[in-house]
Symmetry: C2
Subunit: 468 residues, 2 copies
């Protein structure tokens, strides 16, 4: 049975645009997918105009709207309650041809990231944003969450890959800023409002993406290092020696490396597991021979100055993939550390080693049998902690979170480097943001979405007097 | 004589913090400096706390405030009227030591750009923002105007070099987001509000800047090209072949080149002046020998495929500077084209040639003796037009502006690539922004500065019913 609002919406989006009943509950709204979306309907507009018309109705009715992209977020940002409707952009997957001269492509929000990769590569270009969910996640979701991923050290977050955004405000107003130029100082840069605001300030419907040259070379090595200070020096030296071609600098603490490699592991033991740190370092450039020579001479220099104690250089595409498989074996990791609690944090490199040691000591003190492994995009100041205390009991999980976030807040660290806040981290936002910052965020939310209909309760709780 | 407000302000900033009378009128508020600042006082706070206290008083009193940095802006953004007070950040020039591990530096807003360059270079690092005004312009002004300059093709605008900002809102609230990490998805990225908003949404008082490795090599060439399409292909090929080290791609149309070089010119004639386009191309990297080889082989490839017809490669630092002196001889240019009207626009590369030709044709039709030269950072989609019609008569200037901006608006171009809007371009904002975009900008302004005290009348006119 449809109520009046849903009937009016159906007139806009047509009957393929409205899903009800089992078509809703059989879907998921979180990752890993579990089924059981609670929303009263899933609305699937086919154009920006339809999104606008639907939002106008919802705004008038005070109807809350949770926007769905590829549903690969990790912080509950897409979770919907019984009184929400879901607005899915899955039918908006149009893509203009790549503009090879301007090196841009204009896409609708529902286009999966991988389709952009493929379209760019077809014309020898690169869309540098890359993450594990590439086949499912959508450009709209990537923008709404300011996605990071594997190439940030070289190219930055998606914020730096987006030249223009079209978004619909809560009241249906279409803000279309699709110039697609790199330099645009004509008043406030409105697209910044929508990037990373997790669907709470507007719904991104289209974007102009910046493309880069497709690299012609790739050089990869795994190295072992004794001291944290040497890791930081090695990062600085490689970045300097490689002259702009450093494309990955992934650090694994010994606790990570030892968990993944070794006798019986599918990964073997490319370097002996008795060093303190392991770094996967990679460069991509324009010329196969000279880039290889430069990469190898930079590594040799690091040997000679004593920064690294051991190294293996990939000699083939297969060897490269084998090295990356160690860093990417999150499945193996979370199996060994079941039940795992995963953190995605940023802090200054000078604070990092002391921070990790303090957190580990506090964990061990409270849970003598706990385990913690550490790894991450050190070049971006971003590390992941995976912790297990043998239980998912909420009070235990909160105990772990308190240790991790409090030590972080003391060091001006941030509780979410790339995953966002959503529902799951909003209680901890105060460790990374001052009261005045949070108040200003709420002011922006209030003025752009006065009826609080866009993804309400995400990032911060609904205002008092409304349902939380 | 001081009124009550100024007396109260003096209690906060002390007597060195208040300038009156001739100390005000002998100063300038525009560039080139002309003297004659009209403001009723210049207030010079010494700390963020003092800025906050002063703004609290001004907010209560409804007193308008024009913030001054290095006064090198080109759009009248710092101009003050008789009923304004000026808030100059010249006494806030503190700078923390460079953090060489994190590769960041925290500075107060009044620090001149060049001091940041020097501090970074002392420890083998680079702050990549660079522009002609480097000795005078300040980091606060750079951030408030989202400065671009010479290195945008490689490193982006200052927006991409700023990791954290401290700013004071109109009511005195201090928003301090100085984490200094690259990845920070903890709620809305508030610093984006202040970057490029020309002092209308808050006053930037401090920032954490991101530093990069200091390049170890630099290769520079001037090349000649016959067709515009070949210029675009040459950009794409060089960017690809140089694998991330392309650091400048400055294009001069024949009309520019012929005006600057030739018999009797101090620049001589490094390449014959009968080609259609001249490109100054540069790469900076990590290794002197291999970067030189790569640069030369990329140029050879361009010769072989017929993209370029002539080239000269700088063989010394002096030769490099001589080539740049051609591109940078804006003084020589504006002397020849006196009285000059200068434009700073962006548009898609595919539209660029047709646009320039259309504007030139319209100019010639209306002013048969007019002259126009074209050049710019083509790699960023940003070109400059310098036009003379023999007069600075306002109706003539407006006639030129109408031709330039209307043809631009039709192509989704932007009327200000890097200089901003200020006072001088606000009448043309509508050519680059829709009514809904401008309305949203005004909404942000209204909520962040409800009494319209921060740089009123800049970007858009004051609301009706107030002084414009």
């Amino acid at each position: 049975m449809m109520n009046n609002l849903l009937s009016s919406i159906e007139k806009i989006v047509g009957s393929p645009g409205v899903l009800l009943g089992e078509d809703v509950t059989s879907r998921s709204d979180s990752w890993p997918p579990t089924g059981g979306c609670q929303a009263k309907a899933i609305i699937r507009p086919a154009s920006t105009r339809e999104v606008s018309e639907v939002l106008k109705l919802c705004h008038t009715a005070g109807q809350s709207v949770v926007t769905h992209g590829g549903l690969t977020g990790l912080v509950g940002g897409a979770r919907a309650a019984e009184d929400d409707i879901v607005l899915s952009l899955e039918r908006m997957h149009g893509m203009e041809p790549v503009d090879v001269i301007n090196r841009t492509v204009t896409v609708e929000a529902g286009v999966p990231l991988q389709r952009v990769h493929e379209a760019a590569e077809d014309v020898d270009l690169l869309f540098p944003l890359d993450l594990g969910a590439r086949g499912s996640c959508t450009i709209g979701g990537n923008i709404a969450t300011n996605a990071g991923g594997n190439s940030v050290i070289r190219y930055g977050m998606i914020r730096e890959q987006v030249l223009g955004v079209e978004a619909v405000l809560a009241d249906g107003t279409i803000i279309s800023s699709l110039n697609g130029v790199i330099k645009n100082n004509t008043g406030y840069d409105l697209k910044q409002l929508f990037i990373g605001s997790e669907g709470t300030l507007g719904i991104v419907t289209r974007a102009v993406l910046r493309l880069r040259p497709l690299p012609r070379s790739c050089n990869t090595a795994l190295v072992a290092i004794e001291e944290f200070e040497q890791v930081a020096s090695f990062l600085r030296d490689m970045d300097s020696a490689l002259g702009g071609t450093l494309s990955a600098f992934e650090v694994m603490w010994n606790d990570f490396y030892k968990t993944i490699v070794g006798d019986g592991s599918k990964h073997g033991t490319p370097l002996s597991p008795d060093q303190t740190f392991y770094v996967l370092v990679e460069s991509t450039g324009g010329h196969e021979d000279s880039d290889k020579a430069l990469f190898e001479s930079a590594l040799e220099e690091a040997f000679e100055t004593g920064l690294i104690v051991d190294a293996v250089i990939a000699q083939s595409k297969q060897q490269r993939e084998d090295l990356w498989a160690i860093r990417d074996d999150i499945e193996g990791l979370t199996k060994t550390l079941f039940p795992a609690i995963v953190f995605d944090i940023s802090l200054g490199i000078p604070q990092m080693d002391g921070y990790v040691n303090e957190v580990r000591a506090q964990m061990t003190e409270r849970w003598p049998d706990s385990r913690m492994v550490t790894f991450g995009h050190l070049g971006d100041g971003n590390i992941h902690l995976v912790v297990t205390v043998g239980s998912y009991d909420p009070s235990e999980v909160q105990g772990v979170e308190a240790i991790v976030y409090e030590a972080l807040g003391q060091r001006q660290g941030v509780i979410s480097a790339e995953h966002g806040i959503g529902l799951d981290k909003r209680a901890y936002l105060k460790h990374s943001r001052s009261e005045d910052e949070i108040a200003l965020m709420k002011t922006l939310k209030q003025v752009l979405d006065p009826k609080n209909i866009l993804n309400p309760g995400k990032i911060f709780a609904k205002p008092e007097g409304t349902q939380s």
